[in-house]
């Protein structure tokens, strides 16, 4: 579904991605792990078309994303749902209006259908009855759940999660992960998640890819990653900084 080939990106003299290669199979949940500041969000932004690489390419469903602009790029993006790290909810709108926004503006659905789907989406994330609140009036965990509802309400083919559980308590981390997993089973979307919630992500991921020093150093099922003999991967999973200094 998504193929990344030889992606390079530098900001000034700082090289962040050094030839990233990654394949995300259709219908899978692929989690990208790695150190903070290691380029995971930069890689994600390339998949969203928000950044252009210095070299390499990104293909989505066989279409080369990196060569597209304008309406052609938007055609690919219409297949996306995105949950940003902070939720990125629109401050000036209620939670209900936030979730309704892509239905009204992207899909142009009639008001009755919008109302029905928004109510269902908020119920699915456990926030039925909270639609009238503004983002500033709800907790961080609730904002993440509204963001998930907004990303999934259009039933996209591909969903990107940028650190969806960062800053949340362990109970909420498991709640959010459980929510993503149940929605994935119901809707069957392809998911790409950036996270460093070790070991929780191993319970929801189909594949885990470790980004280190600008490259994917290992990719595979969770069990294979957990049993990896690669010192960088083992060190990261165990939280051993000296192993990543090599």
């Amino acid at each position: 579904m998504i193929e990344v080939e030889g992606l390079w990106k530098a900001f000034g003299r700082q090289v962040v991605l050094r030839g990233v290669d990654l394949t995300v199979p259709a219908g899978s949940i692929t989690v990208i792990i790695g150190r903070s500041g290691g380029g995971k969000s930069v890689l994600l932004k390339h998949l969203l078309g928000l950044l252009r690489p210095d070299a390499g390419r990104v293909r989505v469903g066989g279409v080369e994303l990196t060569a597209l602009r304008g309406e052609a790029l938007d055609r690919v993006r219409r297949r996306y749902g995105v949950v940003f790290q902070g939720g990125a909810l629109f401050d000036s709108m209620t939670c209900w209006a936030n979730v309704a926004f892509p239905l009204r503006e992207k899909l142009r659905l009639p008001p009755a259908e919008v109302a029905a789907r928004v109510a269902q989406a908020l119920e699915q994330v456990g926030l039925g009855g909270m639609g009238h609140k503004y983002p500033a009036e709800i907790s961080g965990g609730m904002r993440k759940r509204v963001a998930i509802a907004r990303a999934l309400v259009t039933e996209p083919e591909i969903v990107f999660f940028d650190e969806p559980t960062t800053g949340l308590d362990p109970i909420l981390v498991n709640t959010i992960h459980g929510l993503i997993l149940s929605l994935h089973r119901r809707l069957g979307f392809t998911a790409v998640m950036v996270s460093h919630e070790i070991p929780e992500i191993f319970e929801i991921a189909d594949r885990v890819a470790m980004l280190h020093d600008g490259r994917i150093v290992e990719v595979g099922p969770p069990a294979a990653i957990q049993a990896s003999t690669n010192p960088v991967v083992r060190g990261f999973i165990r939280g051993e900084p000296e192993a990543l200094a090599t």
Binding site: G49, L50, R78, V82, F84, A88, F90
Partner: protein, 264 residues
Amino acid sequence: MADAAVPPLLRPFEATGRWTLALLDALGRFAVFFGEALVAAVTPPLKVRALVDRIHYIGYRSLLIIVLTGAFTGMVLGLQLYLTLSRFGSEAFLGPAVALALIRELGPVLSALMVTGRAGSALTAELGIMRITEQIDALTVMALSPVRYLVTPSILAGLISFPLMAGIFDLVGIVGGYLVGVELLGLSYGTYFGEMQTFVRFDDLMTGFWKSVCFGVLVTWVCTYKGFHVGHGAEGVARATTQAVVLSSVLVLVWDYFMGSVLP
């Protein structure tokens, strides 16, 4: 090219060249940004609700400051011009002097500066915060144009609101001049308004109108651009807000001179 590769004697030239290229690059991006907003303004769908909201934000919520500033500007004009004109025995021309000063210059310029400080800064800050909290990216990845939703309504609202604010400023200022000149200093009501009708022409009104239209576009263009291209974090937003207000204010004064020298 790294500085180390450039001979020391040539480094000032290299730095000047780099600065010039950076300035041209920034001007180009600034122009492209306006071009995108213009295309969104003339192609459907126009975001009418967002436009009405922006008119309320930029225009209606600036009313109080416009009325206050207009009133005191008119009163100061009434006082100072009466004192000056009375030296030449020309107090009878107080009405047209106050009106012309307000309609041609002070109304458009001062109302633009007041709205820049109040609404322009808020516009930059709002868009800047939306940028750093990824709300603008959220619109982009929904395949929706952030320029169409956030910038074009603001620029159109500026185009509509600024002439209205200038008009209100002029009216209130003329009343302020009346209060000082007629009620306080004893000029006759008939002289104040009668001479005003004789000397204020339609051309003067159009000069003020076109100035305020230009100011409305300039201020909203600069403020939305600065908010859209904000740097990182709260410091980036603060810096962008300050730059937006300063640049908008300077451009208003510069463009005012240019239009004053071109228009009748």
